[in-house]
């Protein structure tokens, strides 16, 4: 089953800014994003690194947070993005 994943960092201001938008989206669309903090949890970091070939071409050649990934389509968006763009990614 497709999973929607958010990779984030505890001390990343972009991630903090996106959290309320993610909450809003989850409520509005009735979906849940799997959230993985990557700087304080090695398993989560390894999981993000395992998607490196998929993520880097879509995210400026690097592993950046926040990154939103659909594990079925491999569609990813990164950084602080407007609500509409996040929604579009999630519901595609």
């Amino acid at each position: 089953m497709a999973k929607l994943i958010m990779f984030h960092g505890r001390e990343c201001p972009h991630c903090r800014a996106m959290m309320p938008l993610v909450d809003q989206l989850e409520k509005e669309a009735g979906i849940v994003l799997e959230k993985h903090e990557v700087w304080h949890d090695e398993k989560n970091a390894d999981l993000m690194r395992s998607y490196r070939p998929v993520l880097t071409p879509q995210c400026g050649g690097q592993l950046r947070v926040p990154t939103f990934l659909n594990t079925e389509t491999n569609a990813a968006v990164c950084g602080e993005i407007p609500y509409e763009k996040l929604k579009e990614w999630a519901l595609k």
Binding site: C12, P13, C15, W39, H40, A45, Q62, L63, V65
Partner: protein, 142 residues
Amino acid sequence: MKKTFWRCFVCNDIHYGIKPPEICPTCKVKNAYVEISASEAKTCLAPVPEKEFTKEDFLRAIETLAEGQEFMINPDRARLETLFEGIFNNERNHGLKYCPCRLICKEFEEDLKIVCPCNFLIHETYKGVDKGECWCGMFIKR
């Protein structure tokens, strides 16, 4: 070209790079650098006492870096505090002051590119952008 170590034969400053400085920044002597091995460099540097480098030291260092440049430190103190927290946690937990808004891929050369401050002048959030900033928003254009 490969970087290597150099030692000033006058004041024993150590330099790492493809070429040494023409004039030693410490003793000002010209053409004073001789190529040395990595182990000699490490031995020369080993007795240098560890000194705590605090967040205040880091702030002072990046403020000095920004002096007279087209960029400055973001005046948003809350944002800076969050970033400093991440940068210092990353140094404690992962060995270097890695960027809190990216992740290391565990390839040393690649990971050096995200040590803070990084070369944000090439970030697409900065280069050619009107109110450009580094990926994390710690440095902003003046």
